[in-house]
């Protein structure tokens, strides 16, 4: 067992920190606030490209795919520092699909997409979920019908986060109506500007944006298909599972708590609220549980680095982390009391009203990318070998 970072890791962490200090300006933060829900502003685009130039996107991939063969620990450190600095770039999302492209893509696709993903020029929005089925992805109804050298796509996706700024949609559509539901699905890499695609915003409680995406006779060449026809479910599942690991997600779970801790230590109101043994007990309890979130991520990472495909450990992260986040928002709300309800726009609101925003958005982690119920099913069945039921 080794829970430490070596010197090279620490040097790399410092490099990232220095980079972020130098490149995350006041103007950048203002742009991010200003552009919320409107797509990417120029400073944000520039920062992504700069990060891409550094070679930090997809850094743990093989060199032949534009990566640097870097240690996954360093990638973890990169992601952790990025989120800790509150840089709202979901780099993880950009590259979540890359392993599937590497594994299943044509030579042409690999050559086109991988380097551009690495440079931050191509970004994907995930076109999986449909209005009729959330967690039950395989029930999707969006159809892609062959027509000569093309496919013609009709249907609707929802909760397509990032579609307002993505260059492409990583689309799951049904290419065979007659096979069992997991088997008639294919994946397409569709430029977002393709005619017939309409992106409609869905505004969230925290003031963020996700989207509905409508496909009306969207015509794309057959070469836009990723991997074999009707194998999309299996290609997609793999990407989804890999997407569940990593610091990006872990840090989302604990960030509210880290902010609370910072507030409790440094803000006069926070210090005043900490003059209460019970409140301190609750914060200390959350601290303990946050460590479990961190260690579960490091455990998965350790397994992946050893070449082990974690049978249930990634699902454990995805149960513990989101429920920790939800719990932490509830506990903190009963420490901050009326201050926790103050929305942005009030000087009294701690952290520009970050607490109520976290409070109302925490739920997303408990169903996004697989609900905690489905994750517990997976722990029990794949991890512990419990049998599937008949009633």
């Amino acid at each position: 067992m080794d829970f430490g970072y070596n010197e090279a890791n620490e040097r790399f962490r410092q490099e990232i920190k220095d980079f972020l200090t130098a490149n995350v300006s006041r103007e950048f933060r203002a742009e991010v606030r200003e552009m919320q829900g409107k797509g990417m502003g120029p400073l944000t685009k520039a920062l992504i490209l700069k990060i891409g130039e550094k070679g930090w996107i997809g850094m743990s991939w093989p060199e032949e795919y534009g990566g640097r063969n870097a240690d996954r620990i360093d990638q973890f450190i990169f992601e952790e520092e990025l989120v800790r600095a509150r840089v709202p770039l979901n780099i993880g999302n950009f590259i979540e699909q890359a392993p599937a492209i590497m594994a299943a893509g044509s030579e042409e696709q690999k050559k086109y997409f991988i380097p551009r993903l690495v440079r931050g020029e191509v970004t994907f929005a995930l076109g999986y979920t449909e209005p009729s089925g959330g967690t039950d992805l395989a029930s999707l109804r969006t159809r892609a019908i062959e027509d000569g050298d093309d496919y013609v796509i009709n249907g609707q996706k929802t909760f397509t986060s990032g579609a307002e700024s993505a260059s492409h949609i990583y689309l799951m559509a049904r290419t065979d109506q007659d096979t069992p539901k997991h088997d008639g699905i294919s994946i397409f890499l569709v430029p977002i500007e393709t005619p017939g695609i309409t992106v409609r915003p869905l505004w969230t409680l925290a003031g963020g944006r996700t989207n509905e995406v409508f496909f009306d006779d969207v015509r794309i060449p057959k070469t836009a298909m990723l991997g074999e026809k009707n194998q999309g479910w299996y290609i997609g599942s793999k990407a989804l599972n890999l997407g569940r690991a990593g610091a990006m997600r872990y840090y989302t779970y604990v960030s509210l708590f880290e902010e609370t801790l910072y507030f409790a230590r440094s803000n006069p109101l926070g210090q005043q609220l900490m003059d209460d043994e019970t409140a301190r007990d609750k914060i200390a309890e959350l601290y303990c549980e946050a460590q479990v979130a961190r260690l579960f991520t490091l455990r998965s990472l350790s397994m992946v680095r050893r070449g082990i495909n974690p049978p249930y450990e990634i699902s454990s992260e995805k149960v513990w982390g989101p429920e920790f986040l939800v719990k932490s928002t509830e506990v903190v709300s009963q420490i901050l009391g009326p201050y926790n309800q103050l929305w942005e726009g009030s000087d009294l609101a701690p952290h520009r009203g970050a607490f109520p925003k976290r409070y109302v958005s925490a739920m997303v982690s408990t169903f996004g990318h697989g609900s905690t119920q489905v994750m517990r099913d997976a722990i029990a069945r794949r991890g512990l070998g419990l049998p599937r039921g008949s009633i």
Binding site: T129, S132, G133, G134, T135, D136, S139, T158, F159, L202, W203, T204, L205, A206, T210, L269, Q272, L273, D276, T278, A279, K282, V326, E330, S333, Q334, I335, L336, G337, P338, Y339, N340, Q341, L342, W343, E344, G345, S346, D347, L348, A349, P356, Y359, V360, S361, M363, V364, T366, F367, S371, T372, Q373, R376, D377
Partner: protein, 382 residues
């Protein structure tokens, strides 16, 4: 002993629920919120016409004689209907004026309130959000004919449209705790009184009040000068239990929406409500909200009977603060994706019930009262 609603109570509940289902539509709720209007004048007048603003107040002023529990059940329905009207602050202040004010004061204020012509507010909390009277620092300098208020009040509900605000202040500078407390009714347009708006996650707006030597006639002191500590506590406790009632009402509605959704929404070829995991979440939700309801009703009943209810009120609030939001959160989880989308209605209840759980004392603060009431706080050793 019969913990269920009796005929009168059931009738009141049914009528209020039917009225609000019609008159407090989600369209109206959204409109009021979008416009930062704080409340709907039309609904306010209808509610006044029904006599709700006079519930438990004397008939002589146009009120409706009823036990406090009826008022509580009404607030449960107002919570269920997430009615966009400042009835909570108005009634809290009106009850305090009725209980402590002189006949002249009551006559001057309550008939107008009951008719819907006067909106009231109350100002209790200060920096830190503590609920104990020892946290009251707002100074009130008593002169020959007037009293001069200086300081800040936080988290004041319904101030924007209120005509008057009942302010809890410390009129004896050297006093502490419940000593030296007065209640002063302040015109909201008084000179020296300014406010900073505090937008909240409920979509309503509270205010921070700044009192810069606000001079108020001594006639506006409600109850006995310097001796209103007990009255302030009663006002606070009534506010708390009516807040619980609202949380309970909103939570019932939200979990019912969830049960309906679970029956209709399909996944993996069957309604999601047929999965045992979802069923057990639903069983928990109804258990928590039922528990919150029973605790709230017991406290309401005690108040209606004129019995001391400090313990029961804080028990209810401590429980509601944690279990109602938890039930709604489970409801969100069962709804998944759409629960986070503004267009979908569930969030209207969720944000309000959650915000209410953060007001008028945290669970920790109310459990501190419970601990004292159940006699487990040791005497400070010398």
């Amino acid at each position: 002993m019969d913990t269920l609603l009796n005929e009168d109570e059931q009738l009141l509940t049914d009528q209020a629920r039917a009225f609000l289902a019609k008159e407090s539509s989600t369209a109206l709720v959204r409109e009021v919120e979008a416009a930062n209007k704080d409340f709907d004048q039309g609904l306010w007048q209808k509610v006044a016409a029904l006599g709700w603003l006079g519930m438990t107040l004397p008939e002589a002023y146009g009120g409706v004689p009823a036990p406090f529990s009826h008022l509580g059940l009404l607030f449960e329905e107002l919570g269920r209907g997430i009615a966009p009207i400042p009835i909570h602050p108005t009634m809290v202040a009106a009850l305090a004026i009725h209980a402590n004010g002189s006949a002249q004061q009551a006559e001057a204020i309550l008939p107008a309130v009951i008719k819907g012509d006067k909106i009231l507010s109350w100002a209790y909390f200060e920096a830190g959000g503590d609920i104990d009277l020892s946290s009251i620092n707002m100074s009130a300098a008593v002169g020959a004919n007037s009293i001069v208020l200086s300081g800040k009040k936080l988290f004041v509900d319904g101030f924007k449209h209120a005509d008057q605000c009942l302010v809890v202040c410390r009129s004896q500078p050297q006093s502490s705790g419940a000593e030296g407390i007065s209640l002063v009714l302040v015109d909201t347009d008084s000179q020296g009184l300014s406010n900073t708006r505090l937008p909240t996650m409920a979509g309503d707006i509270q205010d921070e009040l700044h009192f810069d030597k606000v001079e108020v006639p001594l006639d506006n002191v409600i109850g006995e000068l310097h001796q209103a500590g007990a009255a302030a506590i009663v006002m606070f406790e009534q506010a708390v239990i009516l807040n619980c009632a609202m949380m309970v009402g909103a939570s019932h509605k939200a979990i019912e929406m969830t049960f309906d959704y679970a029956k209709e929404r399909e996944a993996f070829g069957q309604p999601i409500g047929s999965f045992q995991a979802i069923q057990h979440m639903c069983a928990n939700m109804v258990t928590w909200v039922d528990g919150a309801t029973m605790l709230t009703h017991e406290a309401l009943w005690k108040l209606a009977e004129g019995l001391p209810a400090t313990r029961e009120i804080s028990v209810a609030k401590a429980f509601c603060n944690e279990r109602c939001p938890a039930a709604l959160r489970e409801g969100n989880q069962i709804h998944a994706g759409i629960a986070q989308i503004k267009e979908y209605d569930l969030q209207l209840w969720y944000r309000r019930a959650a915000a209410w759980s953060m007001r008028m004392g945290t669970s920790i603060q109310h459990r501190r009262i419970v601990a004292r009431e159940i006699g487990i706080v040791p005497e400070p050793s010398a």
